[in-house]
């Protein structure tokens, strides 16, 4: 099955297993030791629990929405007003509470310092406070839900948001607080990556996940304050009618849209950029082959971060901007596709002639490639003015952003969760169960959202509680797909939960990764590294060898040479644990 134990010259390095009093999960116990922890790993785990709870809540709302849409007049007794609240809360919870913090705050918090070989992020207290800001924002969202609900759509467009009776002020204040949580996380990562890289780790020896996190942090820091002031003005508009956004007081609603999308379009890249980082790691590690076009992937992350600030207008082609503005925004929108395509081509090229292990994380990564490509290509239809006028505010848009947000970010988030789960918890999950979940998610996802492209093209508008009977079969197909998707994610969740008490103990390097987090034990000790680790090329797999005795990958020292020799034969994959 494999080439066997390490034979290369030099010593074999393996972190082995962690002792209980050093294990970050067990070195201190009690609720307070978690609530006041400054350990980035524990904060990451707390984020993970929080955002997965939000994901469950938002997901259940989606299931209710899809069930309601089984029949043209509504399959449930939910009123149209209640339906408005359902889709609003689904969107607001998924965007503000789940997707934006999902990868950066949960996985990023855990991984960034470990990948850097650092002991913690630069500002541990700030890190903990951004978690509690997230909790505070979530409480405001739940409060809005319990009071009068929210029915403005997650975008809080004026003038409706200044005239509706629902709890707009409370929800927007929640989003305002969540914004600060996001800003502080981004600030922390920028400073950590800038000042705490170990000797030898130059910018171009950083893992690509760090590049993606860095690019994401730039957007978080530059765009989120604008959302903050926008929401503050919206609150002021509701409370004392300042007449900036509300047409009743000579305000301009389109100004609100500009302000809002100036944040919320870059926010789309806050959601997708870290997913790109995960995929870069997953594809390289599970293909056991160095990443193709490292610099291009790194630069394209930064390019996307910068371009994301120039294209917000494409959300507003039908809002009554001048036609010149519309054309400029349309042209700028197409530039985004260049760095995105660079990434996809590089990932595919990485797999070419690689020794691909079809492990669970790799299955999710492959699903990502397929779904993100569809999501990206359908974006071109919406960036083109003439087609957008036809497709604007239809199910086509819904399908497009779900392909990118869910097929892209969520699928890669779940893949990354499987990939780093052994590192985070010290437990191996059931491979077969994981792969089955990936398959169900992939099938369910396409069944849900492919019909929605057709629906949108046929003119079905988004956000409607009822529809004409001619759309019924597509809606039913989509709903069945949604339930399948839900079951797939449930299976994934159960596989991970099952591993916590039945999984075998994870070795330090179960996948054969070369980045620094695989140099410490699974789970890492609370100090991460006793001595600053040796920094090498994060995608150099020549000195990573499979050790059959321990079912683990070990690092071997390579003789240092000045001139690259014959490429060292990559070991064939472990073939997973099946």
């Amino acid at each position: 099955m494999t080439t066997g134990a390490a034979t290369a010259p030099g010593g074999v390095r393996d972190a082995g297993f962690v002792s209980d009093n050093e294990n970050y999960l067990k070195n201190s116990s009690g609720v307070l030791s978690w609530m006041f922890t400054l350990d980035h790993k524990r904060i990451g785990i707390m984020y993970l629990v929080g955002i997965l709870t939000s994901f469950l809540g938002g997901g259940l709302l989606a299931m209710v929405i899809r069930y309601h849409l089984m029949a043209p007049g509504g399959a449930t007794t939910i009123s149209n007003d209640a339906y408005n609240q359902l889709f609003t809360l689904h969107g607001a919870i998924m965007v503000f509470l789940f997707i934006i913090p999902s990868i950066p705050a949960a996985l990023g918090n855990f991984l960034v310092p470990v990948m850097l070989g650092a002991k913690d992020v630069a500002f541990p207290r700030l890190n903990l406070s951004s978690f509690y800001l997230w909790v505070g924002g979530a409480i405001f969202f739940v409060g809005a839900l319990l009071m009068n609900g929210l029915d403005t759509g997650w975008t809080f467009y004026t003038p409706y948001s200044t005239s509706t009776d629902t709890s707009v002020v409370m929800a927007t204040f929640g989003a305002f607080i969540l914004g600060f949580s996001s800003i502080f996380t981004g600030l922390n990562f920028i400073v950590t990556i800038n000042t705490m890289r170990p000797p030898g780790m130059t910018w171009f020896r950083m893992p690509l996940f760090l590049w993606a996190t860095y690019a994401t942090s730039i957007i978080q820091v530059l765009a989120t304050p604008v959302l903050g002031i926008t929401l503050l003005l919206l609150i002021a508009e509701n409370v004392m009618h300042i007449g900036i956004f509300d047409p009743e007081f000579n305000g301009d609603p389109v100004t609100y849209q500009h302000f809002f999308w100036f944040y919320s379009h870059p926010a789309v890249y806050i959601m997708i950029l870290p997913a790109f980082g995960i995929i870069s790691e997953l594809i390289s590690v599970h293909s056991h082959k160095g990443i193709f076009g490292y610099r291009f992937i790194a630069y394209s992350s930064i390019a996307l971060a910068l371009l994301s600030f120039l294209v917000w207008g494409h959300h507003m082609f039908t809002s009554g901007m001048s036609s010149v503005t519309v054309v400029i925004f349309s042209a700028l929108t197409f530039t985004v596709s260049v760095p995105s395509a660079i990434k996809v081509f590089n990932w595919v090229a990485t797999m070419y002639k690689g020794a691909i292990s079809l492990t669970t994380p790799m299955c999710y990564a492959l699903a990502f490639l397929f779904l993100f490509t569809i999501g990206g290509l359908t974006g071109l239809f919406l960036g083109t003015i003439s087609t957008d006028l036809h497709l604007h505010d239809t199910y086509f848009v819904v399908a497009h952003f779900h392909y990118v947000m869910m097929g892209g970010t969520v699928v890669s988030f779940v893949g990354g969760l499987f990939h780093w789960w052994p590192k985070m918890t010290g437990k191996m999950f059931n491979e077969a169960g994981g792969r089955i979940s990936a398959l169900i998610v992939f099938v369910g996802f396409n069944l849900t959202f492919l019909p929605q492209f057709l629906l949108g093209n046929q003119g079905m508008p988004r956000r409607y509680a009822t529809y004409d009977p001619e759309f019924q079969w597509l809606h039913q197909l989509s709903s069945i797909g949604a339930f399948t998707l839900g079951i797939g994610l449930l299976v994934a969740g159960l596989v991970l939960l099952h591993s916590l008490y039945a999984g075998r103990q994870a070795p330090a390097n179960p996948w054969g990764g070369a980045t620094l987090e695989w140099h410490c034990t699974s789970p890492p000790p609370f100090y991460n590294f006793k001595h600053a680790p040796v920094v090498g090329d994060p995608y150099e797999f020549a000195n990573v060898h499979y050790d059959e005795a321990t079912d683990n990958y070990v690092f071997t020292e390579l003789p240092r040479t000045l001139v690259p020799e014959e490429p060292v034969k990559t070991p064939t994959p472990a073939g997973g644990q099946s």
Binding site: F36, K119, M196, P225, G228, T230, I242, I244, G251
Partner: protein
């Protein structure tokens, strides 16, 4: 928290830092050197200042947009702002930036008493700033110069009788704070708690400075060119003087002239021809869109002409009458932006004061030295930014009508 202390110790052991532990008491466990710690903090505060600039950037953007749309409103409304008070506040903040920067120098030179003094001076300037601002705000509120939705200013009766005493409400928290600090100081003196006395003495001065600012504002708001300076002190505080006989009535008179121009009929956005066309379209039952548009336009027209007011419907007046008495609702947008910008700025002043009180406590403990002066430096940078934003706010809000 005990947990983290536990975590820190073994890591020091492992890194062989234990011998130096006395020396490294202010070095966090995850940093290798003071230099790395300082650099991280410095980069952190600069990135934070970038977010602050963008945060205010949104407000400046709104300002630019609406000033561009309604230049007359901005020029006219700006006359209501008292340039003298703005100038005094600018000077006070500039001086506080000097004392703050001086404080950083003191921290580096281990001049602990001097540092505490500089922080107290900075805090006092901030308190004076807020005191002057309290006068400005309360005066405008009592005149009805409020954000668009609450705007009730009436040129014929600029100083309506009655209404709450806003100044009292703003001053109350500071008065309570002053009493609290003084009380605590007396207790500390009796108990001979030297440390607390050394912290609370400057804090008493700081809270007292707020009232110095209020007094300064009162004198400048009413004094100067006005002939009725004697009675004005009472007037501004109580807001009960019905006549526009105090110092800034020249300015208000000019402001009214500017704003009257806004009520010309040609200021309305709707072309009569368009309306007629829409009315024909709206006759058609199958065209609800046109009907909605027509209603919206009519409503907009009513709002723009000032005949629809939030909450109370005034009878429609003839254009000539209206020019004299009606309130130009559009003027509210200037005050909306004025209150948003200066209000958010004042919140930043308050936040800065909170952090500086914390620094004052630490400076009294003599915690800062040439290796560890980061917190003073970072708060100093923040304070300079708050100062800088005011430097932009002052001309943009106070000087544009001059």
């Amino acid at each position: 928290m005990a947990n983290t202390a536990l975590q820190a110790d073994p890591s020091h052991d492992d890194a062989g830092h234990h011998d130096d532990h006395e020396h490294h008491e202010n070095l966090a466990h995850h940093f290798d050197t003071y230099e790395q710690q300082f650099d991280a903090g410095k980069l952190g505060i600069w990135v934070f200042l970038v977010t602050e600039v963008l945060f205010f950037g949104g407000l400046f953007c709104a300002y630019a947009l609406y000033r561009n749309l309604r230049p007359d409103v901005f020029a006219g409304s700006s006359e209501f702002l008292n340039t003298k008070l703005g100038a005094i506040n600018t000077g006070v903040l500039l001086f506080s930036s000097l004392t703050m920067a001086w404080g950083v120098r003191c921290a580096q030179l281990r001049q602990h008493k001097m540092l505490a003094g500089m922080l107290a001076a900075t805090l006092s300037c901030a308190a004076i700033f807020l005191g002057v601002k309290a006068i400005e705000y309360s005066h405008k509120w009592s005149m009805g110069l409020l954000p668009a939705g609450l705007y009730t200013y009436d040129p014929a009766n600029p100083h309506p009788a009655g209404g709450p005493n806003y100044l009292l409400w703003i001053c109350a928290p500071f008065a309570i704070g002053l009493l609290f600090v003084v009380g605590w100081l007396i207790i500390a003196k009796i108990k001979k708690d030297e440390f607390k006395v050394r912290v609370l003495m400057p804090l008493t001065v700081v809270f007292a400075c707020f009232f110095v600012g209020v007094q300064l504002g009162t004198i400048l708001e009413s004094g100067g060119e006005g002939e009725h300076a004697a009675g004005d002190d009472h007037h501004v505080v109580a807001g009960a003087d019905g006549h526009a006989e105090h110092g800034d009535d020249h300015a208000e008179g000019r402001a009214d002239e500017h704003l009257e121009d806004l009520d010309q009929p040609n200021n309305l956005a709707i072309e009569k021809a368009d309306l007629a066309g829409l009315e024909v379209l709206a006759q058609d039952q199958s065209n609800p869109g046109a009907r909605d548009t027509l209603e919206a336009l009519k409503r907009q027209e009513a709002v723009a002409s000032g005949s629809v007011l939030q909450g109370d419907q005034r009878p429609v007046e003839s254009p000539t009458e209206k020019r004299v008495t009606a309130t130009p609702k559009q003027a509210g947008v200037f005050f909306s932006i004025y209150y948003c910008m200066t209000g958010v700025h004042a919140i930043h002043i308050l936040a800065g004061m909170g952090v500086m009180i914390w620094l004052l406590v630490r400076a009294t403990r003599a915690e800062f030295n040439e290796n560890y002066f980061g917190p003073i430096d970072y708060v100093g940078l923040y304070w300079h930014l708050v100062d800088l934003i005011w430097i932009y706010l002052f001309p943009l809000l106070y000087l544009i009508g001059k």
